[in-house]
Each structure stands twice: as structure tokens, then as C-alpha cells.
């Protein structure tokens, strides 16, 4: 019953979400400018690679990698942690819980509504990427492109659910945002955001295969930049969606438990 109602309400939620994104256009612009770390790292590695390649990464390869990171990051990141944390703190969540539609539908709708606008912003980056380093990309390989698209969706979902999980921790602790910062720090290293995973020392590389961070960013990027074979890409895709399922379940569980606690203690 609630799912059906949610599906009926979803288009409106999306529309509202889009209006919000448009209303806060300055904020949106600011946020885009905030995600500039990949470009900074690119500049650095570019300088380093001037005298020679680092592993299999020469200047062009670095360009391809970091532009891809920039694009994927802009497309997939979410702000739901801050939103949830704030709404739990100031009690706005109480109002949302009274609605017959699960708040998570509202959150997801807001974030999905932002995707078209983000895609608009990311397209120039993709264009530049193809122009500068087209021969290194997997754009001629249809299978890999499909896998890339699937991995993008997977990354979006994975990030969304892990963020919901982190946000739900605000039900339990004051410093949930602090924990989130911790997460960001670890993510920066283990997802390939700061440094291509191949360039990292081998013991870190091993950990990245197991931890979920890589599947939020590194995996889609590496697929696009042609660092994966068909077989390995498909394998990784399976792992990614496995993680998606896992975090979907866990985040819902923690959310439910958190809401019960919220209701019990009056927020």
C-alpha cells in the first residue's frame, strides 16, 4: 500500500526536488566549485609525470583519470547526511515522519531530481575528457560503456545508501557529522579519489578491493579509463551491486531502529 502510494507521489516529489535545486542555484554552483580536489591532484601529478610516467600513468593517463574522477564524483555524490543530521537535530524529521510516505522517498527524490542538472554540468567535463584523452578511454568498447553506465547507477545507489546509514547514526550520537568527516577522509584514500589506486602501495591496494569505497568511485572511473577487462569489469560490477544490496538492507534496518529511538525519546 505505502509503496504504491509512494510511486504515485514520486513524480510530484521529483518536481518539487527540481524546483528546490533550481531555487538554490547559487548554492549548487558553489558546491560544484567545491569539488575541485581532482583538478588539484591532476595538476600535481601532471607536474610529477613531466619527467616520466609513474607506473602505467603518464600525463595523458593522469588527465583521463582525474577528469573522469571529477565527472563521476559530481554525478554521484549526495548531501543526504547533512540533511538528515540537521533534520534529526532540529526535529523537522518529526513532521516528515507523519507523512504517509516514507521520508527516504522524499530524500531520494530530491537527490534524483538534481541528477539532470548535474548531468548538464558534467557534460562539458566529459567533452573535454574525450577531447584530451579520447584514445585512452573505453568509448569504442560498447560492452565496457554499458558496464560503465551500470557502474554509475550502482555507485549512485551505493553512495546514497551509505550516506543514509551515516545520517541515521545521527539518531544515536551528537557527533554523527564528525564520524562522517572520518568517513570522508578514509574514502578519499581508499576510493581512488585522491590517488589512482594503482599508484598506491600494494598493501593499501589489497584493502581497496575488499572495502566498499572503491565501488563508489574508483571502479566506474577505472572502467571508463580502460583499466579493466571485460571479465574483471563484470566481476567488479557484481561485487558493487552486492554492496548496493548490503547497504540498502543495513541502512533501512538502522533507519528503522533509529526512528523508533527517535520516537521514544522525542527527538
Amino acid at each position: 500500500m505505502t509503496i504504491r502510494r509512494a510511486i504515485r507521489a514520486y513524480p510530484t516529489l521529483l518536481r518539487v526536488g527540481l524546483s528546490e535545486v533550481v531555487a538554490y542555484r547559487a548554492e549548487f554552483l558553489v558546491w560544484i566549485l567545491t569539488t575541485n580536489m581532482p583538478l588539484v591532484m591532476l595538476a600535481i601529478w601532471h607536474a610529477v609525470a613531466r619527467d616520466g610516467a609513474v607506473g602505467r600513468f603518464d600525463q595523458k593517463e593522469f588527465t583521463a583519470y582525474y577528469l573522469a574522477v571529477q565527472a563521476v564524483r559530481l554525478l554521484t555524490s549526495t548531501w543526504v547526511v547533512w540533511q538528515m543530521s540537521m533534520e534529526i537535530r532540529d526535529g523537522t524529521l518529526a513532521a516528515k515522519l507523519l507523512r504517509p510516505v516514507h521520508p527516504l522517498y522524499a530524500y531520494s527524490a530530491e537527490h534524483l531530481a538534481a541528477v539532470p542538472l548535474r548531468a548538464l554540468v558534467v557534460s562539458p567535463i566529459f567533452a573535454i575528457l574525450v577531447y584530451l584523452a579520447g584514445d585512452r578511454l573505453a568509448i569504442h568498447d560498447a560492452t565496457l560503456l554499458v558496464i560503465f553506465a551500470a557502474s554509475l547507477v550502482g555507485a549512485w545507489l551505493l553512495i546514497f545508501f551509505t550516506m543514509v546509514l551515516l545520517g541515521a547514526l545521527a539518531f544515536y550520537m551528537e557527533s554523527a557529522l564528525g564520524l562522517f568527516e572520518l568517513w570522508l577522509g578514509i574514502h578519499a584514500i581508499f576510493s581512488g579519489y585522491l590517488i589512482p589506486l594503482e599508484v598506491l602501495p600494494p598493501w593499501i591496494r589489497g584493502a581497496t578491493r575488499v572495502l566498499p569505497f572503491r565501488y563508489m568511485l574508483g571502479f566506474p572511473v577505472e572502467t571508463l579509463v580502460g583499466l579493466e577487462t571485460h571479465a574483471s569489469a563484470l566481476r567488479e560490477l557484481a561485487v558493487q551491486w552486492g554492496y548496493v544490496g548490503f547497504f540498502f538492507a543495513v541502512s533501512l534496518l538502522v533507519w528503522r531502529a533509529g526512528v523508533r529511538r527517535f520516537a521514544a525519546y522525542g527527538g
Partner: protein, 276 residues
């Protein structure tokens, strides 16, 4: 009353006000004690995370853009130091002003017979950033041990001058950002933007020269104040700073501060003529 006071009396008054503000801000920050420990720990962790790229980069090369690992460490140390000042004193006040504008309580600040810029700048700060400061000191010591020498007193003095200059520049940039918040009320992300742009200051500015010639020239305009804040002080400490550059930087910093104050005043004027 205020008109007949001498400059010295005004300075004394504001010094006293500063003391009161710091006291109030400290008590306010102490209200959330658990946060203190967690935040301190996270600050340390971020420092470690920030060092990883540096270690990896210099694992591949001995020198990058004319900087050795130890010298780059000095830049990182300055960066950490200034980051502590940014996030300990400057950024908290920024978010407070945005909150004031949103809640309509900025009016109360404007009604006080003290300079509004001063009041909002000293309203809040986060004491656990002391840990960042200690971390910066540790990196300094380690870097100079690697270099096998210590800075001369003259270099130290010059570096301290740059510290003041850097803080002033950082603060001026922040004032510009806050003034922007008057035009675009919901700008929570602005402190993140500021922090992210500032992050590029972790690296010696020479690395960015000559890269993507056209596009980076624009970025350079933002990064240049960063050069002022991290690379130049590091060079001063290492004795690598040309005197002409130092003077140029000092002049530029003072001009920048004046411009920022004018923008703030402009923003206030706009606020008081347009708000309802």
C-alpha cells in the same frame, strides 16, 4: 562619547571586548564536551590522510618542481597551521553570520554600539583546533630534522610576519565570502568551498605553474593568496624567499584587507536597504 575617545582608548576598548568575546566563545564551545575529543581526534586523522598523497608523490620522485620532500613538508606544516586558524577561528564565525542572516538576528548585532565586523568575527571559535596547531609544530620539527638544519632567527622572524599577513589575508577572503552571503542567503556550502580552495595550498605553488596554461591562470588568481599563505612563509623559513617577493606580498596583503573591508561595508549597506 565615542567621538571624544583617542585612538588608544578605542584600541583598549576593543581589546577588552575581544577578551570578553573569546571568553564567551570558549564557554560556548565547552558546552559540547564530547565533541571536543572526537573532533580533536578527527583533526589528527585528517592530518595523516593529508600526508598520504605527499608521501606517495615523493615516493615516485626525489624532487617535484624544485621542491624536495622535506621542503614540501614545511609547506604542509604551514598549511596545517593556517588550517587550524581558519577552522578554529574564522570559519565558525562565518557560519554564525549566515545563521544570523537567516534567522533575522543579525539586526541585534547591527544595533550594538560596536563595529559589526568585529562583533561577528569574534563571536565563535573552536578550541580543539589546538590539536591541529600541535600537529603542525610536529611536522615542522620533523621536516627540519630531515633537512639537518634549523632556521635562522631572521628567517623565523620573517616567517612570523608572514603568519600575521597570512592570517589577515585568510580573514579578508572570509569577509568577502560572508559579504556574498548577504546577497545569496542560503550559502551553507560557502565554508566548504573556501576550505576546498584552501586545500590546494597544501602544495608548493611552483607545482601549479605552467600546467594547463590558460585554465590555471584563473585558478592561480585564487591560489595566489594561497601562495602567500603557505608557500611564501615556507620559503621564508627555508631562506629561499626573494626580498622583492616578500615586499610585494606584504603590500598586496594590506591592499587586499582594505578591499575586503569595503566590500563588507557595501554588503551591510545593501542588507539595511533591502531587507524587510
Amino acid at each position: 562619547m565615542a567621538m571624544t575617545k583617542s585612538a588608544f582608548a578605542i584600541a583598549r576598548r576593543y581589546a577588552g571586548l575581544l577578551r570578553v568575546q573569546i571568553r564567551t566563545a570558549t564557554i560556548g564551545a565547552m558546552q559540547y564536551r564530547a565533541d571536543f575529543v572526537v573532533r580533536g581526534f578527527i583533526a589528527l586523522l585528517w592530518m595523516v590522510v593529508a600526508l598520504v598523497p605527499l608521501v606517495v608523490v615523493f615516493g615516485a620522485r626525489q624532487q617535484v618542481a624544485g621542491w624536495t620532500f622535506a621542503e614540501a613538508l614545511v609547506v604542509v606544516a604551514w598549511f596545517t597551521l593556517l588550517k587550524a586558524i581558519l577552522e578554529g577561528a574564522v570559519s565558525p564565525s562565518l557560519t554564525a553570520v549566515v545563521e544570523h542572516v537567516r534567522n533575522g538576528t543579525l539586526d541585534f548585532v547591527l544595533l550594538k554600539p560596536a563595529d559589526a565586523q568585529f562583533l561577528v568575527s569574534t563571536a565563535k571559535f573552536e578550541p580543539w583546533r589546538i590539536i591541529d596547531l600541535l600537529g603542525a609544530l610536529a611536522i615542522f620539527v620533523y621536516a627540519f630534522r630531515l633537512l639537518g638544519r634549523w632556521p635562522h632567527p631572521a628567517q623565523l622572524a620573517l616567517a612570523l610576519v608572514f603568519l600575521v599577513l597570512a592570517t589577515m589575508t585568510l580573514y579578508s577572503i572570509w569577509i568577502l565570502v560572508v559579504s556574498a552571503a548577504f546577497w545569496v542567503v542560503k550559502v551553507d556550502n560557502l565554508s566548504y568551498l573556501f576550505g576546498s580552495l584552501f586545500d590546494a595550498g597544501r602544495w608548493p605553488i611552483d607545482i601549479f605553474r605552467g600546467v594547463f596554461r590558460g585554465a590555471l591562470r584563473f585558478a592561480f588568481t585564487f591560489i595566489f593568496p594561497l601562495a602567500l599563505m603557505t608557500t611564501y612563509p615556507a620559503q621564508a623559513l627555508l631562506g629561499k624567499l626573494a626580498p622583492s617577493t616578500a615586499l610585494y606580498a606584504l603590500g598586496g596583503g594590506v591592499v587586499f584587507a582594505r578591499v575586503a573591508r569595503q566590500v563588507w561595508k557595501r554588503a551591510l549597506r545593501m542588507y539595511t536597504s533591502a531587507s524587510s
